[in-house]
């Protein structure tokens, strides 16, 4: 059982483990939401999950398809207006961790969810910023999770929708009253952290069976590896069971059954 898991499950379990019990987490939709709820259903029963639709301390039975599914409101402690959510709870400094996904990311953790190509003549128009620009600067720290590929891990993002550390790695220097920014990036291949000095993303842990070459081939720049490179612990049978159950009942519900 312990060796029988997919790279996507490895990513979700690793992302879930990053959330400590008791953390207050502002959750992005998709992979972050999957990981945050897995954390809540395994090692972190007291994690507080907050979605930008205004649902505070929510405990969804199935993963939401949208950021404002009824499930989120029905299982929340309370539901507040969207202005209150962003002003009091996020900007007011009540969030420990912002958990985000992205379409593109660069070596300084800048995120692009706006477009591919030129702004006035886009090749591909993406959904845009949503909550991310302020989640990334007003939360205490930021976790990012996404699938590792050259399309996503690019040398230069086409557009900085959301600040990591800026195009020169110094984007947060001297800016008062903002959070620490991204502290880890979790993919289906590895875990990366920004270098404490330069802020450049550095691979600190490789998932079992993944080689440095695999990571490099899926990254659009010459990626750095930590000297003391670790191997990410495998998912436990318990984590896999909970995750699969969660995804199965989610798929059933979203199919309208």
């Amino acid at each position: 059982m312990s060796n029988d898991y997919t790279s996507a499950e490895m990513m979700t379990v690793t992302a879930a483990r990053a959330l400590e019990n008791g953390t207050t987490c502002f959750v992005g939709i998709g992979l972050p939401s999957e990981a945050a709820n897995l954390a809540r259903l395994t090692h972190a029963p007291d994690v507080v999950l907050i979605y930008e639709s205004g649902t505070l301390q929510t405990k969804p039975e199935v993963l939401p398809l949208s950021i404002g599914d009824g499930e989120l409101a029905e299982t929340a402690l309370t539901t507040v207006s969207v202005p209150e959510m962003f002003r009091y709870w996020l900007q007011g400094g009540k969030i420990n961790v912002g958990f985000l996904g992205t379409a593109q990311i660069d070596r300084y953790c800048n995120l692009n969810t706006t477009l591919i190509g030129d702004y006035r003549e886009p090749k591909v128009r993406l959904p845009g910023g949503g909550g991310a620009p302020e989640i990334a600067t007003n939360a205490g720290e930021v976790f990012i999770t996404l699938k590792h590929s050259k399309r996503a891990f690019v040398d230069e993002v086409d557009f900085v929708t959301t600040l990591g550390f800026g195009r020169d790695g110094k984007g947060r220097d001297g800016v008062p009253n903002i959070g620490r920014g991204p502290t880890r990036v979790i993919t289906d291949l590895c875990v990366m952290k920004p270098d404490p000095e330069t802020k450049e993303l550095t691979v600190v842990s490789m998932h079992p069976g993944v080689t440095a070459r695999d990571v490099q081939e899926a990254t659009g720049w010459e990626i750095r590896f930590a000297d003391a490179l670790e191997t990410t612990p495998e998912p436990s049978a318990h984590e896999l069971e909970i995750l699969r159950d969660l995804k199965e009942r989610t798929a059933r519900q979203h199919a309208g059954e």
Binding site: I29, G30, E52, S53, G54, T55, P64, L65, S66, I67, G68, D69, G70, L72, A73, E74, T79, V80, S81, V82, P83, M85, F86, R87, L90, Q91, N110, T114, Y119, P122, K123, V124, R125, L126, P127, G128, G129, G130, G131, A132, P133, E134, T137, N138, F159, V160, T161, T162, L163, G166, G171, R172, V175, P176, N177, I178, Q253, H254, A255, G256
Partner: protein, 276 residues
């Protein structure tokens, strides 16, 4: 004072060609029936404001109603792109649509500032983002007390806001339950407002589960109320019907293709009667 009108008459009276219109509802209570009525009446050159354009603005854009869209997240939640929005922005079909994009925090603050009668909203926002380089409505100001650099955006003041809610009573008071989004702010920020509801009850305050802190918009702050049963499908109405997640997924294929989209609008909006 709220006047009870048919959805047709409310839209005919309050939505003029060229108007700035906000149809709000954050994933929940999206006023689809009203959006469809705007399409049926062939309104043109609208400036459409919504934090999440969602399928409702995808439909309005594809049907040629929009001149400009002001938004902060333009996707099909959990599914992917809004293909009609993309086709208009990338290829100019059915015509070029101008876009002005913000972050959620900025738009939420801008609605709140509109409701508060202020010209601008101030927030700790857009730090390090390149959005200010493509949106000239995002500025930065220095706090006169601390010197901190903060973002400023103009408040949202629509000509008309349209929202959907669960109930209105005979006096026109409206009850909104569940995810309340920016609906109250949208109504109060607008020069005129239309609220569509699932049903009319005698007196909200006499309902057995009425709560003194319920989100209620008084009838005297609303211009028109129209009954639109199931008026937010495929979005949902807390306590009435769930979100049709399956349709949100199906919309991807419908909206991807211009002909499939036009056929869908013809069958489900144009020729589907006044309450579709």
């Amino acid at each position: 004072m709220a006047e009870f009108l048919s959805l047709h008459d409310a839209v005919a009276r309050y939505v003029q060609d060229g108007a700035t219109v906000a149809m709000e509802g954050f994933t929940h209570l999206i006023p689809f029936a009203a959006g469809h009525e705007v399409i049926r009446q062939g309104k043109r050159d609208l400036t459409l404001i919504r934090m999440t354009p969602d399928l409702v603005y995808d439909q309005l854009i594809g049907a040629g109603c929009a001149k400009k869209v002001i938004f902060s997240w333009g996707g099909n939640p959990g599914v992917g792109s809004l293909h009609r929005l993309r086709d208009a922005v990338e290829k100019g079909w059915p015509h070029k649509v101008e876009i002005l994009e913000h972050s959620h925090a900025a738009m939420a603050c801008a609605f709140e500032a509109g409701a508060a009668g202020l010209p601008l909203a101030v927030l700790r926002g857009y730090v390090g983002s390149e959005l200010p380089s493509v949106n000239d409505q995002i500025k930065f100001i220095d706090c006169p007390f601390t010197g901190e650099r903060l973002a400023a955006v103009p408040s949202v003041r629509p000509d008309v806001s349209i929202v959907h809610a669960q109930k209105a009573d005979r006096a026109g008071n409206v009850l909104v339950e569940g995810i309340v989004g920016v609906q109250k702010e949208a109504v109060l920020a607008a020069k005129q407002s239309i609220v569509t509801v699932e049903e009319i009850v005698d007196d909200l305050t006499a309902l057995p589960d009425y709560h003194p802190n319920a989100c209620v918009i008084p009838g005297w702050a609303i211009d028109a109320i129209a009954v639109a049963e199931k008026g937010s499908l495929p979005s949902y109405a807390h306590g009435y019907y769930p979100r049709n997640n399956r349709f949100y997924k199906e919309w991807d294929a419908i909206a991807r293709d211009r002909d499939a989209f036009t056929k869908w609008i013809d069958e489900n909006v144009m020729n589907a009667g006044g309450n579709a």
